[in-house]
Symmetry: D2
Subunit: 374 residues, 4 copies
């Protein structure tokens, strides 16, 4: 793979590299790690990438790599830049014949991601978004069990994603992560909403198997002078009758990254929390809760969940492994010459995600209670 973004000090770029590398199936062969040429060179050297395959721009990278023999050239682009560069990099990759893995959100606007959808369809190339939390084995298990009807029809979805790291105006004192994330030029019109609200939305639909049809949003900016929302509350209606509540906040002081979700059906429910990611609680209205646990040896798990476990129960896997599951699956699909990634991770999901973001933004400005998400 070739990476775009992820220069020295970047958080998510390093995560992508560790994750892509974890199972040994993906090799990082080239990259544009920064808009600063020197930083790209430094990073390439540090990563053991030959100087010849450190590039000044993604355009240059695609041009050069295309000319390499098939077995040598990068197979796909991994886009880990701030949001505003996603679209350009992804569309150019697709136009030049490269598959794409992109960090979420896919683009700054719905229009852009729809363009990507067309490009992907026309090219037959794979486009995947790293909705990290969907890469956790026990999230998959919840989805499979809900789909199997284990808890009956889903009625209620509650997803909370509290973070505290933007409780103070740290973008004003040079925090790099905070700076671009609170800058509408780089992050797009959604702050916390795009950064983590999008994860919460994707997780809610993924596990419940239902799709949001209406939103009623309250967006706030708790920190003075901040230019984007840092706190999001949304009421939800789903297409098969469930309702829900989504909370995402980056001013929940003291919280780390504790996304939790509860999904309730007629007979029971599921609870999953990122703090204890290898555990899924199965609630039963008529009997004791069950503690389902990740583990390659837990035969009661769905085969697709077992596939996502590297270690037997009791040997905790975490964030990198969840991320790696996405890369590993993507790499497998590339090898199998598939033309579509799995539901939840594809360009259509990117379209849904951007539509969700734009609809929530519209709802936040509206005096009407419900804004439809079409």
């Amino acid at each position: 793979m070739g990476m775009i973004g992820g220069g020295p000090g970047a958080f998510i770029g390093e995560i992508h590299r560790l994750a892509a590398n974890l199972d040994g199936d993906v090799q990082l062969v080239c990259g544009v790690f920064s808009r600063d040429w020197e930083r790209t060179q430094t990073m390439a050297a540090q990563l053991g990438i030959p100087a010849s395959r450190a590039y000044r721009s993604h355009e240059e990278m695609f041009e050069a790599e295309k000319r390499l023999p098939v077995e040598e050239r990068m197979q796909f682009a991994s886009i880990v830049t701030p949001n505003y560069q996603h679209f350009g990099a992804a569309s150019d990759a697709l136009k030049n014949g490269f598959h794409v893995v992109c960090d979420k959100p896919p683009t700054l606007s719905l229009a852009e991601v729809e363009t990507l959808q067309q490009l992907a369809a026309q090219s037959g190339l794979l486009y995947a978004l790293t909705f990290t939390y969907l890469g956790y084995p026990m999230v998959n298990e919840a989805r499979q069990r809900v789909a199997s009807g284990a808890i009956g029809k889903v009625r209620k979805v509650v997803v909370n994603y509290p973070q505290g790291w933007l409780s103070q105006p740290i973008e004003e004192s040079g925090n790099k992560q905070a700076s671009w994330r609170t800058d509408p030029e780089k992050s797009g019109p959604a702050g916390c909403l795009g950064d983590i609200g999008s994860h919460a939305h994707s997780l809610a639909e993924y596990i419940s198997g239902q799709r949001v049809t209406h939103v009623c949003a309250d967006l706030n900016t708790a920190v003075e002078h901040r230019r984007l929302d840092d706190d999001v509350s949304v009421l939800l209606k789903f297409d098969q009758g469930a309702n829900g509540v989504l909370m995402a906040s980056q001013i929940s002081a003291g919280e780390e990254n504790g996304i939790t979700i509860s999904v309730y059906g007629e007979k029971g429910g599921y609870r999953w929390s990122h703090v204890t990611p290898n555990t899924l609680i199965e609630l039963d209205q008529n009997g004791p809760d069950k503690v389902l646990r990740a583990g390659s040896n837990n035969a009661y798990l769905h085969p697709s969940t077992l596939n996502m476990c590297r270690t037997p129960a009791g040997h905790p896997e975490g964030y990198l492994e969840a991320f790696a599951n996405i890369y590993q699956r993507f790499s497998e699909l590339v090898d199998l010459a598939h033309t579509q990634v799995d539901e939840g991770f594809g360009v259509a999901d990117g379209v849904r995600s951007m539509r969700f973001i734009e609809t929530v933004l519209a709802s936040a400005k509206s005096d009407q209670k419900w804004t439809p998400l079409v």
Copy 2:
């Protein structure tokens, strides 16, 4: 005390009796336990109350007790009937010179509770509501610490109250608790909202020290043919700038009674959960979380919290003890001839609670996003 309601098989009446009795300061001396005279007699016998002080109606009870010498007669009425009888019993008690402890919600309507407020003011008698969760030591500790500015200005309140016991239409198969709670004649216009949403609202204001000014509500009835809401989601705005999310649901299949609240300020937050009621997590954006624990020997707790603990740390107290704290404090105020109960438990709080309920009901019917709570 004299009890109104709480006949054989009633849940909350038994809880009130156990709680009132727990510390030995309150004695149950008379009662009308049921509208069925035989059941009242049975209950009285069972409770060791002389037959002469089992009454056919609360009117009869008040009349008879008034005529007893002061040191013998009941000092206050404990009202634990279904909601629709609260107002009549409470207003008659106040008119006849008896203090009142009443289960929440105080009445079926705002107008009624405002009448009680006038009666209480005129009579100088005490009127208290058993907002149970406010009786927990660590809820008090959170309130005290927030008030002291420990976490800075409160910005966000998230309160979730999931129950699962009404996931199925058990009111149709004779469940007594479910029957009156889902019957608008007996429960009033609010179902889940009045039953547990009112607790969530009271807890949110009590800990945050802020008051709800606007609500945006989504009320649902998940179970077919049910006549009242069984699921509540509300966005909140508070008077000092916080916003919030309140979820209360009785169709969260598999959940017991796990009310949880998180309150976030500029520097940190507090998390409390009814599942582990003796623990309060103090979140700090710049350091490790602290695990504050109930216990009569934990000198770091607020004096008023220590007052609410009967046992040293590590000897768990629970629901009855929380309830008992309310009775014990009420009994103390009666003895001290106070004319007002503590903030959070008084008739003014009952007024706020009914106003909250009516405003949420109005909001649920409205197409407008925000409905002011005045």
Copy 3:
């Protein structure tokens, strides 16, 4: 009941009173609360006991009470003094025709408790020990399920009882609880061993259904100048083949009162912890763990467990309720004119407990690995 001990400032006396009173079945009618006559009078006044039934000594109390009409007099003595007074009070009670409830350990020596056993047998009176933890519903549930064979033959028992309150020599600075507990004259030859090790032993046998046959003990005194052990580690062998580890320590700095036990059989196990007393984890080697929960409405629980629950699931009960379960059951047996209390709580269990203590003390002094407990 009449109480012996439990003067102002006593911990366990107050607990016994709250517990005995909780369900309304037991009435405290008289007492000798202190060896100091003034303190006894003060306490009696505070508890609403008539001056005529505050006594100078237990001898005086038994004499006086015997002369009262049967329906007025105390039915049983509740002994909550420091250990060294247990035997005298209990034996006199039995000799005078009164049943006995006594805090553990029953006596200072095995010989003494064997005398009590004879007295109880001769008199046909009830003698019960408040092994508090056996009063928890989920401890009973574990015992019942183990007995039913749910996990197969028990192979391993691990019980840990860490406390931290004696980490410093607080007996030297006037802490009353610490003073008598570290004084061999008042506490007997066992310190931590008698105080909490005895609870751990009783819990281990109660749940496993097996009896300790051999011990290998390491007793330590971590705090300089302390006169009794404050830290206990024991290897155990049981009569049906299980082995075990028992740890009890009062110098586990920072710990509250977190006794935990794990019992493992051929197919699964049970885990219970006093920190979350309403939860029992059922381990299954071939499937997910189950989270069993106390609650009067949890039909999957054993009938005897349901009997011990006052509230529905999700309304936490605690230490006082566990204690109260013991009093309530005792009071029921008195009413039914039984001549024996339930296994786990009786004088035979007191004999076993003292034998355990004496054997552990002997083992601690021995160079031999195993000391038989006959």
Copy 4:
């Protein structure tokens, strides 16, 4: 690196490969994956290792690799075979100039590991053992804080390592992991003791900073016909006055791999559990517990702990990352041409580990209570 062991279906070999690869600093270049030449070839192909560097024996591998140019040849051997092959492979590696990483236990006997110690000293080569749990950031944090005197002198260490996977005689039905681990020819004279008891011992010494001087052991074999111990209980004395309890069991039915440790000092303690590896509880006898959390951004952590974190707080790391920390540090030491690995991981620790194992075996056979560990 070149790997010895870890053929198809092996558990720990795959873990070593994933861990070594995780940070991209170590490359697997050759190997003898099985004693079966076909399986080695299959594995090599699967791992992308050129056929020319798949070897028939470790002797052949060392010979061949020595002849390669320095920059091409393997730098160190990773030994992941069943125990009985450790010594031969490690001693040959050292004799042929290759550093060694070996899974624990180092050898089958103390004599063997002492030979390795001499070989390592003579050769100036690095020898490291993968005591996995020492690779967790929060284990390191506990060690650093204890060493800094944060809790005063350590008095008590309690380490429990329950597993359930050998509850049934699965070695008789072809389970490969179970077969060699219960076979004295392949596993050595210690079963559960060598497999996981050794981890518990290493963790106890590592965090407490004290060394075991005496043991009193009870070894059991719960499963009929099993040829080695499957359950271990040991009382411990340490060189600076602490005492302890170590439990390791593979017949704790229903348990996964939940090693937990509590270390208590004069003023407080630390609790760490493998089930929640990113959390370290700091107990304080005089104040609330603190919840210390792994995370590259948690400035309150020791610098060496921060070094072990790849992700910010709230992005869980797990078993592979802990393992990878050991490989990464080893690889760094190789690059820096150090001649010793860090305390806890070196050959001297291997010697201590084997001495512990042999002493526990001797103690288990002895009638004397204490057996010295010299």
